[in-house]
């Protein structure tokens, strides 16, 4: 109980933010998994980090430009202070999603192959960007690039809350289109629904979600929570709605519990959250096999 109080006192936004990050990833994960696009999740986490690394080159000083335009002190305003990292993280992810969404037009390389190339190139350019960054401490940049649950502050928390609401709104309002184009895009097109547009729209939404959660809680947590809770949902559920509900519950519950375990046993919170999710997955998988 004492540990819980300490965590609540010291990291209130981390605790709440971990729940939001878990919900965002697990909810989007159902879409990613149902589209057999798991590797897209992996690639986007790395592309997102490459975008943040690019921002450290300070080739375009967006923060100063926006600060002077809106007459805001960049140093004082913590949101604007980190705007460039988030902006380039999102920009890089959007470009990757656009490239991926157009890959069906060609037959020279498979989508998996393309994602594999995006994945390794993102890692390679990240290293190159960091090497050319004017900031001397590479290890410090690496730590900032990869995010950490415990570093979630008020800005990150409210940004994720807004993103979560937007994602729920989009997937709720356009659930008809979502169901049809993800189930059978060919027939949806034949029946007059613009499958290409809708798939691109949903993938861009996924890209925004993945990009921001990677920025705030790290690539390992994001990728793990895209895949593991939705996989558990698919194993357990008998209806589509149940898949989403189970995935979201797991995505919401395990991260704060993992922060508690990480504190108790002196582990890093991100990897602990991944391992705990994996343990739950194994238990569910074994029980399902035995039944």
């Amino acid at each position: 109980m004492e540990t819980i109080n300490i965590i609540i006192d010291l990291f209130p936004y981390a605790l709440l933010g971990s729940i939001l990050a878990g919900i965002i990833c697990s909810f989007l994960g159902v879409f990613v998994l149902s589209q057999r696009a798991v590797f897209l999740g992996a690639a986007l986490t790395q592309v997102s980090i490459a975008g943040v690394a690019f921002s450290f080159l300070h080739l375009v000083n967006l923060e100063v430009m926006l600060g002077s335009y809106f007459s805001i002190d960049v140093i004082e305003n913590s949101f604007l202070h980190h705007f460039e990292h988030t902006f380039f993280s999102l920009l890089f992810s959007m470009i990757a999603v656009l490239i991926f969404s157009q890959s069906y037009r060609q037959k020279l390389i498979t989508q998996d192959g393309l994602l594999g190339i995006i994945f390794v190139i993102a890692i390679a350019v990240r290293i190159m960007f960091i090497q050319k960054s004017p900031i001397a401490e590479v290890s410090e940049i690496e730590a900032i690039l990869k995010g950490d649950i415990l570093f979630i502050g008020a800005n990150e928390f409210y940004t994720m809350l807004v993103i979560l609401l937007i994602i729920f709104l989009i997937f709720g309002l356009f659930s008809k289109q979502l169901k049809f184009v993800t189930f059978d895009s060919e027939t949806a097109s034949a029946h007059g629904i613009n499958s290409r547009f809708w798939l691109l729209f949903f993938y861009l939404t996924v890209g925004i979600g993945i990009s921001l959660t990677t920025r705030f809680v790290g690539d390992v947590f994001t990728f793990a929570y895209l895949i593991i809770p939705s996989s558990i949902g698919m194993i357990m559920a008998k209806k589509v709605s149940q898949v989403f509900i189970i995935a979201v519950i797991i995505g919401a519950v395990i991260p704060p519990v993992s922060i508690f375990l990480a504190f108790t046993f002196d582990f890093s919170s991100g990897p602990t959250a991944v391992v705990v999710a994996f343990v739950i997955f194994i238990i569910v998988y074994m029980v399902k096999r035995l039944l």
Partner: protein, 255 residues
């Protein structure tokens, strides 16, 4: 209906980008037609269907299909969902294309989906998981989804592929009923020439650089089919039923 036709294709060229697959297609599809589309792989059947459905732009010419609503049944193997959709969920998708962006599903939509399930004889399966169905049941589900659109024209792409014999004939019987009783115009793509010959009223035969359309008796000659498929084709008729088979050449050269 315009001058006795539902769809009119005039001077139509189909293909991709700069590659024309067929050109100068002139065809009128009338109400309650039953047209079989046959031809070897790569002869342009799918390109023709996509152009007709509007998912592929014609390279030239015109398609007059105002007021026509298509119900499309894709090849079963192309639909392999990971999510546990129920049969009813799948059939309801047929109603989605008729709804506006923010329009909700109404009681009428649910009733139409239920009727569609009834028409194809799988009302009892409505709560079953689509993934747990047999091939024949899945195909009926996809047909029910196409019927939920309330179509004028039902397009079926290889509906009996990979089915066992009872399911195969049961499905053909359903398609025949939909044509006869529901008065639907049907376009059936199939590799099984006998099925098309026995069900359809007209036939479109796609060759590599040619396109023939006409009545069954005009198009289905051994000479015509042998030329199209580049192999010997034998046509037998027992009663009113066609049996179209390939003439296999044995190693000793005898047929």
């Amino acid at each position: 209906m315009k001058d006795n036709y539902l769809i009119s294709l005039s001077g139509l060229s189909i293909g991709y980008k700069n590659k024309i697959i067929h050109s100068n297609i002139n065809l009128k599809i009338t109400d309650n037609d039953f047209i079989g589309l046959v031809g070897p792989n790569g002869s342009g059947k799918t390109t023709f269907l996509r152009t007709l459905l509007g998912t592929l732009k014609p390279l030239a010419g015109n398609i007059d299909k105002d007021g026509v609503r298509f119900g499309y049944v894709p090849q079963r193997d192309t639909v392999q969902p990971l999510l546990p959709y129920s049969v009813f969920d799948v059939v309801m998708m047929g109603r989605y294309s008729l709804k506006g962006l923010f329009e909700k599903i109404e009681k009428e939509d649910i009733a139409i989906a239920g009727e569609s399930l009834e028409k194809v004889g799988i009302s009892s399966l409505k709560n079953m998981n689509y993934n747990s169905l047999s091939g024949g049941q899945r195909q009926r589900t996809l047909i029910a989804r196409a019927l939920a659109v309330n179509p004028n024209v039902l397009i079926l792409d290889e509906p009996t592929n990979g089915m066992d014999t009872p399911s195969h004939y049961s499905l053909l019987s359903l398609i025949e009923d939909l044509h006869d009783q529901s008065k639907l115009t049907i376009l059936l793509v199939s590799h099984l020439l006998s099925d098309v010959a026995n069900l359809a009223k007209k036939i479109i035969l796609f060759e590599k650089d040619n396109f023939q359309c006409g009545n069954i008796d005009d198009i289905l000659s051994e000479e015509n089919l042998s030329k199209t498929y580049s192999t010997g084709i034998k046509i037998s008729k027992i009663g009113s039923e066609f049996f179209i088979t390939s003439k296999h050449t044995h190693a000793n050269g005898n047929n």
